[in-house]
Amino acid sequence: DAGVTQSPTHLIKTRGQQVTLRCSPKSGHDTVSWYQQALGQGPQFIFQYYEEEERQRGNFPDRFSGHQFPNYSSELNVNALLLGDSALYLCASSIQGPDQPQHFGDGTRLSIL
């Protein structure tokens, strides 16, 4: 049973560019959440997708956008990259409902030069 898979594992971009990160949820999961983890910090919630709609959003600017496809996979897009966007981007999947843990992928390490 495949867990949450993310691609690519590493990415190097320059300021002002745009990037797309991809996530396939764990089998049977219908909800995908994205988190940003800076060095030495805990993950920070970006947004969550369910039924192909953004359901929740954290304190991130509109440069961060996403999409969920009918097969529940998801993309995170970041426009006009800033140096401060350098971080580990984690995708988590879960089942909607109470007391449902989120399961994480290994993340995409994004470096902005």
Partner: protein, 113 residues
């Protein structure tokens, strides 16, 4: 504003002894709590969770205790093993409504053989 706090950045324990990791929170609306373990270059791995209607949940060597009046939870690992060496994150969620995770900054556990 950090709503979930792990005030000990690191902890060292002898193999076979008990490891106790602590977590405090400020938001009284949190009603589901989780612990994740993270190895370098991997995503967080779900360990154990507890609902606010319980004060204890056990899974093998791992036990989580919740004290709602003190807004405090702890993770006990007995006996500790060298393979438990990792960064442990405490996380919390409000359900229903906002079901994104709020993370602490993590505690690095080192189990000494």
């Amino acid at each position: 504003d950090q709503q979930v706090k792990q005030n000990s950045p690191s902890l060292s324990v002898q193999e076979g002894r008990i490891s106790i990791l602590n977590c405090d929170y400020t938001n009284s609306m949190f009603d589901y709590f989780l612990w994740y373990k993270k190895y370098p270059a991997e995503g967080p791995t779900f360990l154990i969770s507890i609902s606010s209607i319980k004060d204890k949940n056990e899974d093998g060597r791992f036990t989580v205790f919740l004290n709602k009046s003190a807004k405090h939870l702890s993770l006990h690992i007995v006996p500790s093993q060298p393979g438990d060496s990792a960064v442990y994150f405490c996380a919390a969620m409000v359900f229903p409504g906002a079901n994104n995770l709020f993370f602490g900054t993590g505690t690095r556990l080192t189990v000494i053989p």
